[in-house]
Symmetry: C2
Subunit: 119 residues, 2 copies
């Protein structure tokens, strides 16, 4: 039962699109990620996902619209909804989702990270 | 599927120890709270709780030790562990916990909020 300092954890990695697990509770995981550029279009059939912006900003693209997110804003993407995060500049985000949620959801892609590091 | 701006939501209320629901996903709820002073000792038999500090700081007291939390730090309190948050100055926090988690857990108290407002 140790506290987690977000800045300390973010200082431990620099790669993009590679979420790190920093907490677990009630079958859910808390993840930190650095993102830059375009991710891959995907959806999660059984998991809702929360994206919280810690630093910078990014846009979440949906098939019919786009949501711009800035620092201290969050968005919950419901299961089944196709989405693609895009960050023009590097952004740092916190994710909340069920343990085992695959970053690229229903899509197998070179950006897929089947195993995530705990930091 | 609208984004949530934390500062906008915090501006909607001023009372202490009265969490507001700002999001739901996977059976969990995201809550915002303003806290100041001493809460009541309690535990949750079936729910882990995450406390994320948005503004200010507070200390989480346990029966055998205390954890000081500052901005951009979080702590996960496992189910079954007695705890008491105490804030010398007002702090703003975000909570993640299963839907329906009672703020005072196993304790019935004047600070108990059986029904939470969604904002």
């Amino acid at each position: 039962m140790e506290k987690v300092n977000i800045d300390d954890k973010l200082s431990l990695f620099s790669e993009h699109w590679s979420p790190k697990i920093v907490g677990e509770l009630n079958g859910q995981q808390v993840k930190l990620a650095r993102i830059k550029g375009e991710f891959v279009w995907h959806k999660h059939d059984d998991e809702d996902e929360m994206f919280y912006v810690l630093k910078g900003g990014f846009r979440m693209e949906f098939r019919d619209r786009t949501v711009e997110l800035r620092e201290n804003e969050f968005l919950i993407v419901p299961r089944g909804v196709e989405h693609r995060p895009v960050a023009e500049e590097e952004a740092c985000i916190m994710l909340f989702e069920p343990a085992g949620t695959l970053n690229t959801g229903n899509v197998q892609h070179e950006m897929t990270k089947p195993v995530l590091q705990k930091i």
